[in-house]
Structures are given as C-alpha cells and as structure tokens.
C-alpha cells in the first residue's frame, strides 16, 4: 500500500480496514425508489486517507451514513476489519458538515458525549481534556456552543469524535462551511492529527484541491446514482504544498473527470 508506507509505523494497528462491497441504496420518494448509490465498491487499507469527490447530490453523504451504520444499505455489504457492520459504533465516528454541538452542553460536555454514552466517562475524564488540548480548545472547555466561532465549533466537533479513539474517522465535508482562512488552518490540523493518530479516514468533500492536499487516494463518483468513476492515488508525501506541479496536474485530471475541464 502506497499510503501506508508514508505513515507512522504503527498505523496499521490503529486504523481499521474498510471494504464496501457492491452497495446499492435508494430513497423512497412519492412511492418510488430513487436510486442513490449503484453497485459501489470501495476499499481502504488501515491508516489510509481516502477522499470522495463527486457532483453535488450524487450520494456521497449517503455512502458515509451507510459506513457509519446510521442506515442499512438496501443491497451489498460493508465490512470493517473483516466483520460486516450492523449499526453505529464509536470506533467509526462521523464529523458532519454542521458541528451539531448540543447547545445545552458546554464544549467539555460535548466532547465527553461519547465516553458518557459508553459509561466510561468517570474513569477516563482525562481523555476529554486531552482531546480538547489536541484541537486547541482547552481554554474554551467551559464555553457554550453559541459563544464559539464556526472554526472553533468544528474543532469541538472534531474533539468529540477523537475522544472515542476512532479507528475509522468519517468526515462529511467537515470544513465545508468554514471561511477560507480557517479552512486552510484546519486542513493542516487534520493532516497532523491523522499522522499522529494513524486512523483510517474516509472524507467527502466538494473541494478538489482539499481532496488532493489531504488524501492518499481520491475516489471520483459519477452523477446520481453514484458509481465509482475513477480511483486516483496521490503519491506525494505530507505535508503537501498546494502549488506542487504534480498536484496541479492531478487537479486538472480530476476536474476533467467531473466534466469541468472547460472551466479550468
């Protein structure tokens, strides 16, 4: 595996392997099934960073919900570490586009949500502090969500995910609503966290540059119903520079695949 070779040595022990096998899914819309995913196959090696790109509304987020276990696919299997998934599990945590912090909880209490739900909070309070320190929010532990900026809220949501020591981190356009400067900073932080922790990442994004900057592999989806259109390996070490000629080349290829080459 190319990506695994570029990472910290024990990454394989921490990250989960993901195998999406022939998954099809659809939604009931006025009595008819609207197909959203069609026979999607996707693999991620332990510790790999895979980005999903595709036209808006093509079903990428639906795939993430299936991998998280929030919904069950109509057809096909999703296998994590050799076992077919049967529901949500704290080892597979999602960070959504909206931080969705609970407004009635402080930042600390929000980050502690997973440990509390699993009945481990009493014994492992230190992990919450550590996760907040990791995302740079220690000083805001007692703040309520409405007191945070958009970037801080998204970092709090990241801390809430990282507390669970996920083996597979599922990111649904996590930086999509941030302003461009915060976004650049958070892209760097994501890379750093991933390299430190060695979890597997599955990330949906609309931003071609972001996908190429962060991911070891970029999977391009077709329009709905989504199929895998291309699977590109980004063979560059991290941290990457956004005007590296190889990235610019790949970016042109990807935009071509998305049918946007004319606009470049």
């Amino acid at each position: 595996m190319v990506a695994a070779a570029l990472q910290v040595p024990d990454a394989e022990a921490l990250g989960a392997s993901l195998d999406v096998q022939g998954v099809s899914h659809g939604f009931l819309l006025q009595g008819e099934v609207l197909p959203v995913l069609q026979d999607v196959g996707l693999r991620a090696a332990p510790g790999e960073f895979v980005a999903l790109l595709g036209p808006s509304g093509c079903g990428k987020s639906t795939l993430l919900r299936l991998v998280a276990g929030l919904d069950a696919p109509r057809r096909g299997r999703i296998v994590v570490d050799g076992t077919e998934i049967a529901g949500p599990d704290p080892s597979r945590v999602v960070v959504f586009q909206d931080p969705t912090l609970f407004p009635w909880r402080t930042v600390w209490q929000n980050a502690a949500l997973g440990l509390q739900a699993q009945g481990r909070l009493r014994a492992e309070r230190g992990r919450v502090d550590a996760a907040l320190a990791l995302v740079g929010l220690s000083r805001f532990a007692a703040a309520y969500p409405h007191q945070l900026s958009g970037g801080m809220a998204q970092r709090a949501a990241l801390a809430r995910a990282l507390v669970n020591d996920p083996r597979l981190l599922i990111l649904d356009e996590p930086l999509g609503k941030l302003d461009s400067l915060t976004r650049l900073a958070m892209q760097g932080e994501l890379t750093r966290l991933w390299q430190q922790r060695g979890f597997t990442v599955l990330m949906v994004t609309h931003d071609v540059e972001e996908a190429l900057l962060l991911a070891g592999r970029v999977v391009v989806f077709s329009d709905r119903p989504a199929r895998v259109r291309a699977d590109l390996t980004v063979d560059l070490p991290w941290p990457r520079h956004r005007d590296h000629p190889r990235l610019l080349q790949l970016r042109r290829d990807v935009l071509g695949l998305l049918g946007l080459d004319a606009s470049w």
Binding site: F96, T100, P103, Q116, N164
Partner: protein, 329 residues
C-alpha cells in the same frame, strides 16, 4: 470617528454608574403631602385605619428621601428607577382617598377606601393567611402531579410509537376539554372536595405540559440523534440526554401555560366546593357584601400567582442558561 464622538463615547459607560435621582425627592414630597392630606382632612366615611395609612405614607416619604440621599451606594442604586412609579403611586392614592374616604363620592359598599382595605389586612389576616396557605397547598399538589404526568406522557409520545398510538386519541379527545367542565363530576366522584380539586388542578396542568413536551421532543433535529448514535449512545441515553434537554424550552412553555390554567381551575374549584382558600374567601366576602375584603383577597391572589410565575421563570433561567434571547419576567 471624529474627536467629538470619541469624547462622547465614554458617557455610554458612565450612564450605568449610580447617579443622584432628584425625582426621588419629588416623590418623597408627594408622599408627605399625601400623609398631610390623610391626617388633616376629616373622613366622610366611618373608617378605622386612617392613622395607619397616614403613617405608612410618612414612612414611604422618608424612605424615598433616604434612597435619594444614599442612592450612590450599590445597595440602593436600583431604587432610583422606581422614582416615577413612586410619584405616580402617591398621586393615584391621593385621588382614590379623595373620592372615597374624604368625600364619600363613590358609592359604598362597591368602592372601598384605601384604609378600608388596609383594615382587612390588619384585622382579618389570620383568615387570609389560612386561605392563602390552603390555595397554595392545593395548587402545588395538583400542579406537581399534573406536571410530572404530563411531562412523562409527553416524552413517551415523542419517543415511542406504541405510546403515541395508544395515548394520542385519548389525549386529543379529552385534552382540549376545559378542566372546569369536570367540576361537577369531580366533586361527585372524589371522596373529598380537596382531592377533587387536586385532580382538577392536575388535569388543567397536565394537558398543556403533555402536548408541549411532546411537540418539543418531536421537533428535536435528527442530526442530534445521529451524532449521539455514532459515538455509541443507546436508546435510553438518547431519551435522557438528547430528547429531554433539547425539548426543555418547549416543556417550560407548557409548564407556563399549565400554571395559568391551574390558577383558573383552582379559583373555580374553591368557589364551587372547597371550604377554604382564596377563591372561597372571595365568595364568602361577596356573600357579606364585604367588598374591601374582596379587594384585599384579589390583591393577595394576584401577588401569589405572579410570585409563582416568577419562580417558574427563575427555574427556567437556571436550567436554560444556555439559551439566548429569552423573555425576561
């Protein structure tokens, strides 16, 4: 920003500092004038507490002047805001006193003089206090039972399809019925009028609390459940730590509406069957054409209801400190 604006800006902050309120002195003088009027002009009606009324006016006048003198201290800085109301109060009382006690212009017994109402408090306070206590005790029992049951059913309706299926038709049919409509049946079915009244108050509270808790739980964003489920939350955790806290703002609207409904049914129940309480006192006073007693009881009842609502809002402010832009009471 110009220099003039820069100079003016600090005044925005200075305005918050305690400052002298000359209006307090004006109010003090007005109360003193009221006292002189009460003492100097002879009563046209047969009244007992004229001296006490005048004495209170003197005391208020003294308090206003003292508040003006020490208004810059932290303790009394808030009193200054009351100055316009103090002044208005003196004028209104003087007019009232003039039209009743001093000239007998407004017909007795419907219009009571200020000192006549004062006399009710000084002479009949044991009975008033007993009535207040009975009303409060009845109200609190019924409200606690109705609120707890309404909240529980509301959460059940929002969280469980089975409960929703079986409880909804009954709630829809019976809920909108005013609790007062149950009065005849309740007094017939229940062994004591007190237990019947508790039932009625509980019923009046129950419906708004149940419906609003239910709508609160139903309107919780599904994203909150998704987030909690992905980090390992199970069903009871979702109810306890997602549904209920997210629905709490709605629950308090229901508790507020329930409190209002419970006041209404309390008074009806006390007027019709219960042999104690402020509602009973009102009825009893009317029977004797003791209008001063009625006004005194009404005022006491108003203070009780307002105090209970204030308490409820305080509780809400504590529990919902994370919310912004709440109505302050």
């Amino acid at each position: 920003m110009s220099f003039a604006e820069a100079e003016a800006a600090p005044n925005l902050f200075r305005a918050d500092a305690p400052r002298a309120r000359p209006l307090l002195v004006v109010a003090g003088v007005a109360w003193l004038a009221l006292a002189v009027f009460v003492f100097a002009v002879p009563d046209a009606q047969d009244l007992e507490r004229t001296e006490l009324f005048g004495g209170i006016a003197v005391a208020v006048a003294a308090a206003a002047v003292l508040a003006w003198r020490f208004g810059r201290t932290k303790l009394l800085s808030g009193v200054g805001r009351l100055a316009p109301w103090l002044l208005f109060g003196a004028l209104a009382l003087a007019a009232w006193e003039a039209l009743t006690a001093k000239t007998d212009y407004l017909p007795l017994p419907f219009f009571a003089a200020p000192q006549a109402i004062l006399e009710v408090y000084t002479d009949d306070w044991p009975r008033l206090l007993d009535s207040l206590w009975h009303s409060l005790w009845l109200l609190l029992r019924g409200y606690a039972i109705g609120g707890a049951l309404g909240f529980t059913l509301g959460v059940g309706l929002g969280c469980s399809r089975t409960i929703s299926y079986w409880a909804q038709p009954g709630l829809r049919l019976i809920g909108p019925l005013p609790a007062a409509a149950w009065v005849p049946l309740a007094f017939f079915v229940f062994p004591t009028s007190a237990s019947a009244s508790v039932f009625l108050v509980a019923l009046a509270t129950f419906f708004p609390v149940a419906v609003l808790t239910w709508s609160g739980v139903a309107s919780v964003a599904s994203a909150y459940y998704d987030v909690a489920r992905t980090v390992g939350a199970k069903r009871w955790f979702l109810v306890r730590h997602v549904s209920i806290p997210a629905a709490l703002p709605h629950v308090f609207v229901g508790l507020f509406m329930g409190l209002g409904a419970s006041f209404a049914v309390l008074v009806v129940a006390e007027m019709l069957g219960v042999k104690s309480g402020l509602g009973w006192y009102l009825q009893w006073a009317q029977g004797w054409a003791a209008y001063a007693n009625m006004y005194a009881a009404l005022l006491l009842m108003a203070v009780m209801c307002s105090a209970l609502i204030t308490l409820l809002f305080r509780l809400r402010d504590r529990l919902l400190a994370w919310q912004q832009g709440m109505v302050k009471w």
